[in-house]
Symmetry: D3
Subunit: 237 residues, 6 copies
């Protein structure tokens, strides 16, 4: 029934290649099916003005898509002179999600910027960015720990995300692009390794949904996130 | 326990003054406690390029805050040369939410732009904007109906929104600014008059939440939205 | 003869509601007929770089129009990425006009920003902004005085403004939009409570005028400003 | 008494060199003392959207200052990414002023853009721009006439401008920069060759003025404009 | 003597992986040592306005660097709101270089956009972009040929580029970043497969060079380009 | 054979008028045939952040073209909100070229900005800017020397530039606009008074060139630069 032939609770193949670039303190190329996102984490000693002097750290994120990551070429945001609304929305979500898993006291007064750049898109880029972004963050904070710059681990738990939606009347896990563009209702679910929720975004484009449907999607998402967390653990071990 | 003395499931006083400005096809000033938003609906015969010729209508929204709507003056977005990430995120939410209640075939190939401008802010401006924006939309579509420009009602149901959050460990309804700035977990819930869900956005700034907590917040939200829908009905009758 | 039925030297009804918003140090909603402007005054301890360390204060203004303040919706300046030429011109005029009534030594090294946002427009928005802006400024400086932050009054005199023009061959006071869009010659006159002139801007779009005509308009303006000053006095008393 | 040693009603030396650049349909370098402005007029067959199909012509203006036209280097507006408020205000004034002397029916559906670029500034650049801009406009419209593209003269009369102000308590004509930066009250007066007024802009930076003072300045301005009109006539003959 | 231990006429290892992304009509990941650039070619039926209706095709290029492609994180150009001078200069060079190898009549009235995005930088990114960009262009034009959209090959010859410079007094081939940042004189040389020159850019930052030195660098470049052309041929065969 | 009737190695008439504007520390109007560029040099005590505290000076350049410097009016860059790619490329070239002739230790920690504004264009504006820019720089540094702000001359040698190209199959010196717009191959050659090379930029728009042709153009350029250096020497003596 699904265009890809997957069953409703089946994720696409997931791979995470760490150390994909050499300069960043942490990096990986995450592939969720045909969605490929390069995630890098950069540690800097400066923090945003609003926390200067508090001793707290900060984690933020930026998101971009290469112009031909998609089926038809999109205008380069640097050329059009600003980041679009979708980009802004996504990078704020990534930042908020990752911060939920961070002990900002343990991190100390420094900033980690996670850049998520989509090399190839096939649906679910924001969830792949969060999941891969956490791996980059883990690798970067490992460096701080092994260099004894910090002494207690600033990462409280894994953070991973998956999308679910109602496609052809059926709740399905991990929407790819053909499903995503058809689904009237879909959601992005960000959770911890321990199964707690961080962010829930369910929306209906020109439709509505019931609480029962919402619960079905969350059930699927819990299973999907557990799978992703296992892949993260494997990648950083 | 709440700074305002309200009990946990108590909304702030709500008032909706229709016809607040004379030029717009529909307008109201909605007050949710000290949050005051001016909502106007503008009908135009042109539609965005991507639906030209389809016979379908479009509803979109823009959101702004006057510089001194808040406790300290914020820089005017027109002066800083762009809309901030928060603004973009909110106006996309308002547009999506209102479209979920619209029969775009019945609307016909025309666009309604709902402008939500916050004159005074005390938390919950995006929810007030959706709730008041629907009233402006209702008044504008009424004009189309009574002028017989269209013959069947493009509004399927009421659309209203409320925020809930966990404040001081307790789920509470309709956060005001002092609560909102303290709550680790909060959500915005957009629903129809019939109790269906349109959009759920729950997030945890530096925290997590359980499915049980999520369900408690949704219970509160359902009651709050019902109250708002009654106020909308009264305002447009 | 006038579209509104007013006689040539008759102003539209004027009302000034102070304290329209709660956060600003001073605020009012001024209504000159169907022109409604929300004016707020914000006091900040910082001053622009060019007067830092001089002990002098600064008063500046910003002006905006809600997108549907006018008969057809105008593009939101924050969305188009810059303030238009008309906006820039008007806010510079408001700032200059208000500063002419301020003793910058008495104000001390602080800045007051007067925001004038047009909720509904029907001609004469810049004059209404100056007149209402002065009221917001008066209320804000009263706070500084009563809190004994400053000891001598920084406001030398009232500042108010009115437009006049030649409509259908006849000099008339306080142009509304139907008159303004037809008048070949019109002017904005900013004056003090004591009848001194602060700013005169008379222009002819595709026409010219004589010194006699200019004098007739100034006569009308003097009467109009006197009326506005009385309304200001009443509002702040 | 004046820094330059001029008497109160004495203009600076004026020279107008026509044909200063070869590409423009009309051009001149106008020198009012040490203020040097290069003015060019460009004729194009297209008109702005709002008059398309009306048969009417349009005259518009743009203004710029070279970065080191002034005593200290100013940031290049092209580099800072926008035209400042002062620039916008001035170019709108130049356009309005020149249009007041144009018969837009006689011009026919075409646009003339007058560019005024200040090569060296010493006060009064906007007045020099209007006066020199008219010369460029005259030369360009002469070309249209002699090429019989149009048959009746679109220029109704000369348009010229001069500034006056109260310097050291004394009304003086044609302020140079040292005077302009000291004068509490100054005005720009745009008039026709026949002595009619087109635009009056009198303002008081941190001061006020009486009607008597205003009249004294206008008397000076009338004499100054007459002198400029004679120079224009000589230059284009 | 060279930081990398290479001898003066030795290039870094070169690899070209074609088909790196699935959506683009042509794509490759080119690696010149630690410089990794993802090149994609997009075919569109529209052309820029200045050649519309001429029957000629167009090839253009855009260039970007991921924020953490470099040793320290650079600000994302989409976030800073414009492409920097270096970016603009480079993408114009890539476009000009590739066009020199294109028969625009054979291409027909269509546009190919070559996007070069640096995933990891270690000197020579513009040369790698030209060399890899040609491969993407070759693959995309092959598609046009095999689909019989065009019948004669629009690519006249290979286009490849290499940098050379004077490092520690010695002319060397293919500068890496440590060399590039020290070299007083360096050049970028774009050539065809047949050894003709397309673009020569030699510059001296705070230094000068003689014609003899220039000739030594060109000798090195000719050898380097020949090697790159062989790699291109292998990749697209 | 050349449109201007010049022989292949003949430059256009060159004139350099120093002191063209009064405010700048150094200025000239350089005319190379009908190409007229106003060059000014501004000395400031501040330096860019990346050399603060090093004791080294900096020389930078900005370039602009008046809208009607060209045959058809170009949009003003300040109005379009950014400097185009061509402008950015040229001003970076001017800055790099002039810095090659500067002893930054002798200059001391100060910045000289050379502004090159094209009043009239007929090909070769970037070369005229470099040649005239050096004169402005020489005059400004002379002031520093004669005021004993610095004691040793920061200018090592003359810097001048000329363009050459292959026009109608023939290498020619100093392309004017009609030649430039036809030439498939052209180059800009920046050299010192002593005949050393600073920057070579040869490119082929849709064509290629051989090393022999390159050498012929450099021969012509050497002669042309020698002539320009003599004119510079004369102008500043």
């Amino acid at each position: 029934m699904r265009p890809s032939g997957r069953n409703v609770s089946e994720m696409r193949p997931v791979s995470i290649e760490t150390g994909f670039t050499k300069h960043a303190e942490g990096s990986c190329l995450i592939k969720i099916g045909d969605t490929h996102v390069l995630c890098t984490a950069t540690i800097e000693d400066r923090v945003p003005p609003f926390i200067k002097g508090t001793g707290l750290g900060w984690v933020t994120a930026e998101y971009g898509m290469l112009p031909r990551a998609t089926n038809t070429r999109m205008r380069r945001e640097a050329a059009s002179g600003k980041q679009g609304g979708r980009t802004v929305e996504i990078q704020r979500l990534i930042g908020r999600s990752l911060r939920a898993g961070v002990d900002r006291v343990a991190l100390g007064e420094r900033q980690i910027t996670v850049d998520c750049d989509v090399l190839q898109a096939d649906g679910g880029t924001r969830c792949a960015s969060i999941t891969g972004g956490w791996v980059a963050l883990r690798l970067a904070t490992n460096k701080l720990l092994s260099a004894k710059v910090i002494t207690s681990d600033p990462l409280i738990d894994h953070v991973a995300a998956v999308s679910c939606g109602i496609y052809a009347g059926q709740p399905v896990l991990d929407l790819d692009y053909p499903e995503d563009s058809e689904a009237g209702v879909d959601g992005n679910f960000v959770m911890t390794g321990g199964g707690k929720m961080i962010e829930t975004q369910m929306s209906a484009e020109g439709a509505t949904y019931s609480r029962d449907q919402m619960n079905e999607l969350i059930d699927l998402a819990e299973a999907g996130v557990a799978e992703l967390v296992a892949k993260q653990a494997e990648a950083v071990s």
